[in-house]
């Protein structure tokens, strides 16, 4: 089974090397690809030094386009499964290995690493959402569950693993500015098996979240529109997949 782990990175020169090293020790069989989303710093050089392949987008395109680049590469290079995680050190590589295991065992087509699936097991250094973020999480959880009729707890998780069916779908259709949530809706609508696996996530090593209350409100509003429109998008024929 050929495995690709890709990391979308935008100005993450401080943390990207450590994330690559973590993956190479936790998942030694996997190829590592960093998608440098038009970084202005040394992200691409740091990633190359750490031994990763680097796909540099010529200008910043947003997370969705960066992730799609990874899926496109995995599809074209004939990888059997792929996974992605954030470059800021929030996602422990050992947890990514567990997601990939679920794909290899063919338990699902797309596996999402969820921080909130098993709240009882939370430890002190684990990720804790802020209040405004918790509201957003609740809203998205509710509407995505309504739209897909499947329970999701961590709709915006950036730690995922996928097989070739998902690569084919996401490399063609992946929303550029509302990637995380719309992709889940799309996968479920296209009849793919999507599953959440409880994972641990750490507090971010560097950088801060881009969300302010006003932005959060706008983000939530946009998300609801995206989900509503997504419900009326045409499905692709099953035979095409």
């Amino acid at each position: 089974m050929r495995t690709l782990v890709f990391i979308p990175a935008w100005n993450e020169e401080g943390s990207v090397a450590a994330v690559i090293a973590g993956i190479r020790s936790a998942i030694p069989a996997a190829d590592v690809l960093v998608i440098d989303d038009g970084s202005g710093d040394e992200t691409a050089a740091r990633a190359r030094e750490a031994g990763a392949l680097v796909a540099s987008l010529p200008f910043n395109q947003g997370l969705g386009a960066a992730l799609q680049t990874g899926y496109l590469y995995a599809l074209r290079e004939g990888y059997d499964c792929c996974a992605h995680l954030d470059a800021d050190g929030q996602h422990p590589p050992a947890e990514v290995a567990r997601l990939l295991a679920a794909i290899r065992e063919d338990r699902a087509d797309l596996v999402i690493g969820s921080r909130y699936r098993d709240p009882g097991k939370a430890r002190s250094d684990d990720y804790k959402p802020t209040f405004s973020r918790r509201i957003g999480i609740g809203v998205f959880r509710f509407f995505l569950t309504l739209a897909t009729r499947q329970r999701f707890t961590d709709t915006t998780s950036g730690m995922r693993a996928a097989n070739r069916r998902v690569m084919g779908l996401f490399s063609e259709r992946y929303s550029p500015d509302f990637a995380e949530i719309e992709s889940l809706q799309l996968a479920v609508r296209e009849g793919l098996r999507v599953e959440e696996v409880p994972v641990r996530m750490l507090e971010r090593a560097g950088g801060s979240s881009f969300l302010t209350p006003l932005r959060s409100a706008f983000f939530i509003f946009k998300g609801m529109i995206v989900l509503l429109v997504g419900q009326f998008r045409p499905r692709e024929a099953k035979a095409e997949r």
Binding site: R2, T3, R24, P28, A29, A30, D31, V32, L33, I35, D36, R48, G51, A52, L53, V54, A55, S56, L57, P58, F59, Q61, A65, Q68, T69, L72, Y73, R76, P176
Partner: protein, 141 residues
């Protein structure tokens, strides 16, 4: 209230004055000359100019044959032909702006895919030059 409605019904139709008609005709001609000039200087592609040229012709037709506009105003149930004119122009501009948003979205998607293709090309240059990522990569090559 009823007196007002009565007065409105009895008041004569508001027509375009010949002064407005002349100004409109001059503007329409100047506008079409501008479009042609932009095409000539390669600042505007033909495929995006057709709609503007049609708009210019529409302006000219409205100025030359005011009866046309009154016909439309009557069909809309508007007493003031100027109001009818503004409504039509506003709607047309709205449609054009929307058309541009659609074109912009398509081009944004094309630019994204182009950037992705370029990024992936650079990866294959990297693998071809022997800078390999992992154990699995080394085994394969």
């Amino acid at each position: 209230m009823s007196a007002l409605a009565l007065a409105a019904a009895q008041s004569p139709k508001v027509h375009l004055t010949s002064q407005t008609r002349i100004i409109a005709a001059v503007l329409a001609i100047a506008f079409m000359v501008l479009i042609l000039e932009l095409i000539r200087r390669d600042k505007l592609q033909e495929r995006y100019s057709v709609v503007w040229f049609v708009a210019g012709l529409g302006m000219l037709a409205g100025a030359a044959f005011p009866g046309l506009l009154e016909l439309v105003a009557d069909a809309m149930g508007v007493r003031d032909t100027n109001v009818a004119l503004f409504s039509i122009v506003l709607l047309l501009l709205l449609g054009l702006a929307l058309n541009f948003s659609v074109i912009m979205s398509r081009q944004a998607a094309q630019i994204t895919r182009l950037a992705q293709e370029r990024a992936l090309e650079k990866v294959s240059e990297q693998t071809a030059s022997g800078h390999n990522g992992s154990e699995a990569e080394r085994e394969r090559l």
